[in-house]
């Protein structure tokens, strides 16, 4: 099988996983007209090659009792130290390394304002921050991108 054919199969599969990753492989295969054995092999390739890094469930944290979602842009003089602190924080959801005006974007989820204030105090006490921009975040859409512009 040619490389492009294989790539095309992988793209179709990845897009199906993006739509709903909890479906059975049989169901996914039926949706894209692909035999189960082919689906199985291709999916294994996608996992082994770390193309699909994780199957996750996106949830409404507010309904779970965590209504405060914070997005913070940060600049520091001590990247490793700050990265370690943020990466290990219990309330961390997402941590990205950025280029440009800020070193990191971090997204944290909190139950109440007190938790949020504790985090801000911890950060202040560490004296690592050169520049910070804090925002409350309300999701409109999440993880909707499909390869090749498929709807």
């Amino acid at each position: 099988m040619g490389y492009s054919k294989m790539k095309e199969r992988e793209i179709r599969l990845v897009n199906e996983f993006r739509k709903n990753s909890r479906r059975s492989l049989t169901n996914i295969g039926m949706n894209i007209d692909m035999p189960l054995s082919t689906v199985f092999k291709a999916v294994n390739r996608l996992y082994k090659g770390q193309v699909i890094t994780k199957n996750i469930c996106l949830i409404d944290f507010a309904q779970m009792g965590f209504p405060y979602k914070l997005g913070i842009f940060l600049t520091t003089g001590k990247k490793d130290e700050l990265k370690k602190f943020l990466a290990e924080h219990t309330n961390l959801n997402t941590l990205l390394r950025l280029s440009g005006d800020y070193d990191f974007y971090v997204e944290l989820i909190f139950k109440d304002m007190a938790g949020l204030q504790d985090f801000a105090d911890e950060l202040k006490d560490m004296q690592l921050i050169k520049k910070i921009s804090i925002h409350f975040v309300t999701d409109v859409k999440q993880e909707e991108f499909k390869i090749g512009g498929e709807k």
Partner: protein, 158 residues
Amino acid sequence: MKMSDLLIVSYLRQNARIKLTDMSRATKIPVSTLFDKIKTFEVHGLIRKNTALVRFERFGYQAKAMIVFSARKKDRQKLLELLNKNGNVNSLCRINNEWDYMVEVVFPGVKEVEDFLEDIEEQVNLKNKKIFYVIDEIKKEEFLANPKTAQMIWGTQK
């Protein structure tokens, strides 16, 4: 929200493809209860979506960026519609403090990101915009994605 609900969600956050039998074994919750609970979570919108996190660069999408926008009140709805319908916008949210919207975009390269911004600016009178290219995704969607820490968080939230 009960501890058992939090546990179910955290197992799904850890691996959305987990089999109910495996989750049942780990949580000691019967499969039928898990099935019903997950259905209820879906119906009530607590579970928004089960999806795969993908390294898009493997398919030629080398540029990932976070972009923040602000626009005058009369232009905000149009900006929101444009961002919402664009297929390269992976995630979109409202934000406060000087900005109105933040998006995460995925494009083949920097040129396409710049074209996207130019296109938006042609259609909406923006007050301001700022772009930050993503160099590395250190962690993504990790909150409540570990049943052990979920139990710990539950303990501190009571």
